[in-house]
């Protein structure tokens, strides 16, 4: 009996010990996090909340020092952590990406616009915890293509605008040639009338029928063009609006390109910098002793 009791007591105290230890580890994790926040040591916060990313990107080591179980302790307060970390991160991004203008959507969540010009585009959102941009795919692709088109000396919408302008010219020509068509129609009608009155030898009847058929076809062709001309004004106006929208987009992208070139020299450099953003930022935190904070 006593043995059993003793065994049970031992087991019990072992379990208690283990639990205390486990809880203590968790407490230590949270305490370290709290301390890091108190010391404004953002670098350490980043390391604590995502050890795997930290070791992969910063230490560039394959062996993860991730403590995922403890990290999950703060999963439900990621917005609060994000809000805290955004302070220094946004200051850093303001210097490194001066053309991105950030706007808080809700706690810990930020989206950004490209540029401060008229009707600038919403270009993506910021993942504060991962220190990375999530670009709007469509806009990013347009920018990438615009850079690629540099080689051809073209802007993104050059071809579309050219084809719209051609259409507009054709429509205008259709409007301008109304008088000419009217004369032409009159001529065809007269000819038809003349043919109808003409008396021909039976063996020539087929030829006459053919001629008549041709004239009728020509007339309907002209009438068709008249109808098109009537809608041409509206189409030209629509066409103008489209060209304006495309020119506006080209102008916007032009400014975006200029901004990137001014800061990074090329689109490739820009993309490369985006890839190393996490590492660069942590390095900057170390170099500047946590930016705002000097008591690391």
């Amino acid at each position: 009996m006593t043995n059993v009791n003793q065994v049970n007591a031992q087991k019990y105290s072992l379990a208690a010990q283990q639990l205390s230890k486990t809880v203590a580890v968790k407490i230590r994790y949270l305490q370290t996090l709290a301390q890091a926040v108190e010391n404004k040591n953002d670098r350490l916060v980043y390391q604590l909340i995502d050890g795997q990313r930290y070791s992969e990107k910063v230490m560039q080591s394959k062996h993860s020092t991730a403590d995922t179980k403890n990290e999950s302790l703060v999963d439900d307060i990621s917005d609060t952590i994000s809000q805290y970390l955004s302070g220094n991160l946004l200051a850093y991004l303001h210097e490194t990406y001066p053309f991105f203008y950030f706007e808080q959507v809700k706690k810990g969540l930020f989206q950004f616009y490209f540029g401060n010009w008229w009707d600038r585009k919403l270009f993506g959102s910021l993942d504060v915890l991962r220190v990375s941009f999530e670009f709007d795919k469509a806009e990013y692709e347009k920018l990438r293509r615009a850079f690629a088109l540099d080689a051809e000396n073209k802007r993104l919408n050059t071809d579309k605008i050219a084809s719209l302008s051609d259409q507009a010219d054709q429509l205008q020509a259709l409007i301008d040639s109304q008088g000419q068509r009217d004369t032409e129609k009159e001529k065809v009608r007269l000819q038809l009338k003349k043919n109808a009155q003409e008396k021909v030898m039976p063996w020539e009847a087929a030829k006459l029928r053919d001629a008549k058929q041709q004239l009728v076809e020509h007339l309907s062709e002209l009438t068709e063009q008249d109808e098109k001309a009537q809608t041409a004004y509206r189409l030209i106006k629509e066409n103008e609006d489209q060209v304006l929208a495309l020119s506006k987009e080209d102008t916007l992208i032009g400014y975006e390109k200029q901004s990137i070139i001014a800061k990074f020299g090329s689109f490739e450099n820009f993309e490369a910098r985006n890839k190393t953003l996490y590492r660069d930022y942590i390095a900057d935190l170390i170099a500047t002793k946590g930016r705002v904070n000097i008591n690391e």
Partner: protein, 333 residues
């Protein structure tokens, strides 16, 4: 050129008419000597009336006191020199008095840039501005309603640049005519310096009327003050018009920026900033779209900017239907 704008001589006046009526009624009952005395009295009155006119005229052309000048001009523009007893065949018109007044006022401030010419052929005075004198000349066109004012009018085009009323102490510029004349008609033939000079001349008129006599002046698009808000005609300015400005600004090598409150901001040379914004004042009542021009010296107006920057002028004129700066609708339609 004709005398269209000269008011026909009026001999009918409310106070006088009473007495004239009485004279006619009484005439029948009067003795011959009575008639002679009455006739002589009327002549004396008429002469006195003419004398007063010459005194006012003296004042108009000679006084160095601005308030005397205004008072003389104000009286002269409604003075009926002729009576039923004496008429004066050689007279200046009311338009002429307005013109003389402006030259005298500007001269008192050493700012007389406009030349007062007299046409012997058409018996009228007119304003000629050096540099644009081959294109037209200016006179006053009297208001046809009972409001007692006059429109400063370019004679060839009929454009009325401003409305002036001594009685109401009001000066109103007409943005449409200013745009039409100075930014459209004259742009090819008149130098920018001359147009600037003409603008200064107009501004001086407003300035002195305001400072010397407390006139209520609406400069519209000429107003150089940074606090001036130029309201555009279309309160629901189509988005495409701003898009056009955005594209044309880029072609002009500049950027149309977005301000903190969503307004469109255009930075020009010499720290001149143009802002376009929709005023959504509380209670959701929209005052529509407006333009503001600011510069460190409070010197530049929307007009100056349009004159200086051809891409803005092109944009403004191409979309004038929506963008035209409002003038006082009481005087201009």
């Amino acid at each position: 050129m004709s005398k269209d704008y000269r008011q026909p001589t009026e001999i009918f006046e409310p106070q006088k008419s009473q007495r004239q009526l009485r004279t006619i009624e009484d005439a029948a009952t009067l003795s011959t000597s009575g008639r002679l005395i009455t006739y002589n009295d009327q002549l004396k009155d008429s002469l006195k009336h003419g004398k007063i006119f010459t005194e006012l005229f003296d004042s108009l052309i000679e006084t160095n006191d601005p308030s005397e000048l205004l008072s003389a001009a104000q009286k002269l523009v409604s003075y009926h020199l002729d009576t039923s007893f004496i008429t004066f065949p050689q007279q200046y018109s009311r338009s002429d008095f307005y013109l003389i007044f402006l030259n005298r006022l500007l001269a008192l401030h050493d700012k007389e840039r406009v030349i007062l010419q007299s046409s012997d052929r058409f018996h009228e005075l007119y304003h000629e501005f050096p540099g644009i004198n081959t294109l037209g000349y200016f006179i006053f066109q009297l208001e046809t309603t009972a409001q007692k004012g006059a429109y400063y009018t370019e004679k060839n085009t009929g454009e009325t640049l401003f409305y002036l009323s001594f009685d109401k102490h009001v000066l109103r510029f007409n943005s449409r005519a200013l745009t039409e004349l100075l930014l459209v008609k004259y742009t090819d033939d008149v130098t920018k310096e001359t147009l600037r000079g003409f603008e200064e001349y107009l501004l001086d008129i407003g300035k002195f009327l305001k400072e010397d006599f407390g006139f209520d002046v609406d400069f519209t698009l000429l107003d150089p003050s940074n606090s001036a808000v130029y309201q555009v005609a279309d309160s629901n300015l189509p988005r495409t018009i701003l898009d056009k400005l955005f594209v044309e600004t880029a072609q002009g090598g500049r950027i149309l920026e977005r301000g903190v409150n969503g307004e469109a901001v255009l930075k020009l040379d010499d720290d001149i900033v143009v802002k376009l914004f929709s005023q959504n004042v509380n209670e959701g009542a929209s005052n529509g779209w407006s333009i503001k021009v600011s510069d460190p010296l409070h010197k530049e107006s929307w007009f100056d900017v349009l004159l200086e920057y051809s891409f803005l002028r092109t944009w403004y004129l191409n979309n004038l239907e929506s963008l035209e700066i409002k003038s006082d609708s009481l005087y201009f339609n």
